[in-house]
Symmetry: C2
Subunit: 350 residues, 2 copies
Amino acid sequence: MKINRFEENPLITPRDVSPIHEGFEVIGAFNAGVAKFKDESILLLRVAERPISDNPTIIKAPLIDKKGELQIIALDKNDSDYNFEDPRIIRRSNDLSHFEYLTSLSYFRLARSKEGRHFTVEDKAFIYPFNNYQTMGCEDPRITQIEDNYYITYTSVSEMGICESLALTTDFETFEDLGNILLPENKDVVLFPERINGNYYMLNRPSPTSIGNLDIWISQSPDLKSWGNHKHLLKMSVGDWDGGRIGAGLPPIRTSKGWLEIYHGATKDNIYCMGALLLDLDDPSKVLAKTKSPIMIPEAPYEKEGFFGDVVFGCGGIVNGDILTMYYGVSDTSMAGCELSISEILEQFS
Amino acid sequence: MKINRFEENPLITPRDVSPIHEGFEVIGAFNAGVAKFKDESILLLRVAERPISDNPTIIKAPLIDKKGELQIIALDKNDSDYNFEDPRIIRRSNDLSHFEYLTSLSYFRLARSKEGRHFTVEDKAFIYPFNNYQTMGCEDPRITQIEDNYYITYTSVSEMGICESLALTTDFETFEDLGNILLPENKDVVLFPERINGNYYMLNRPSPTSIGNLDIWISQSPDLKSWGNHKHLLKMSVGDWDGGRIGAGLPPIRTSKGWLEIYHGATKDNIYCMGALLLDLDDPSKVLAKTKSPIMIPEAPYEKEGFFGDVVFGCGGIVNGDILTMYYGVSDTSMAGCELSISEILEQFS
């Protein structure tokens, strides 16, 4: 499988993005939703900002309180009540299965380009945490264009859980909040770009607690705001490249063979690759084929090293004939781009 | 708070129910959904059947396979790969946060009564696991009457997770499957008995994985099959009687003061009590009041002892003027009944 990684990669790094919070540093500009809008390629970046700590033994956690004001929790690295092993989260030592704080606050910012390789990042946030479900930030947006509407699905993180929210923009200047569309815990939601037999569809990835794996499910809706008829779609493959978790990546792409879904899978050791899935055009709850091997694995230095290395994480792309320009987050740090041939991906199934 | 427990309690015990599987014993007839239908009080019992084991060192786990056939897994109690501590579930020793099997198979059976105290249990199942989401059974039904339709919300349990499903009956002879209405993991779903400002509402209890507690959420729907606008409603109270988990109990009851919701709370040590909640009539996502103490705690011997003791678990009731006849599961074993005064419950809020 040939992947033309852009020579300009990484396209956007934290250094290209100035923080909007005083005393913070940008540690990630990654996992962007992607749209073609008028003559522009648009990336809706997840920007992660971290409070600068002058004292290496003090770890700071940002949090937006119920009044909408930014608070910073300062914790001593030597405090045995807490566990700081994972750089992304802070856990209580007596409960390592949950996190208590995140070490950064994520929100969304637009980057625009005419030719798709050199992007200008806007100075201000496009979506900044605006309700109590987002006190710990907004993460991993995907954009699906349905007619002239651009729907943004993203996770809202708070002490109440990680739920999936929906926003709508028609101009990439303002957005409308359409509420929480899935209950905790759910991530990696992509909408299909058109109605199928009268219904809207989405892929999503619940996190079952008592029994079940981190698998992909498919749900349907009459109006995009309310979802039901939830069905299990794809199981992770224990022991394989996608044996730790899987989740939808790009919004599904209509091809003559079926809906092409490019999704991510991670091993138990958190190496994130991209695979491909083919779904029935008339009934997308039917899996027609799945690539046995990943179509893309972390290889380039910027994919292997960073805040959280060994991650390629595509959230969107732009299709032009047979060419899919995929933009993807690398190492929970930066954005990169590549070109793939759709027909060549489809050949992987046969 | 005065509770008139029925003298006839427990009303239905496992001994009153004959197993429908050969070589099985009924170990639970409990947590029933409740409806008033024509001149009958109806209990939709959760019946749990367990394969009889002649050998005390062999634990058997029932399972319905993908062909719809009942299989029995036999495990040796001395097998250190498995953990048999909780009598309800079998876990892998290296992963105590999930279960692998249930020790019984649950399904639903109708019991009918003219006067509400002496029930006749039907010989056959009313809802028996019928799809791949129910290979480990169906649990804890609630019935909400909306006009002449009786909607049954219940959990479907399989290796894919625990999701919430919806069925409809108009005659208590047959039912229609309306699919999975909530993704895993979710339990304790009750519908409101009427539209509010044009929308249907439900209470539900997701189980967040990474962050969040076992709290009650409220969701809305245009059609009962698709759900959105999910909002957090009530937090469990760490350290209190409802500090382990909470979940909706009875379908909400309309009163002049607001929607009365009688819900269950459990301590960390799994003592299950019932509390009460008052929600705004026009916007049920607004909590007006909550009882500080439970309105009912396990006291009677049949509430304190059984398969899983110290549990009162109300899933439905019948209102007649000021009197609420609540039917409730006891100790994950049997059904009991009691009468409460609605006005007296409302006084607990002031």
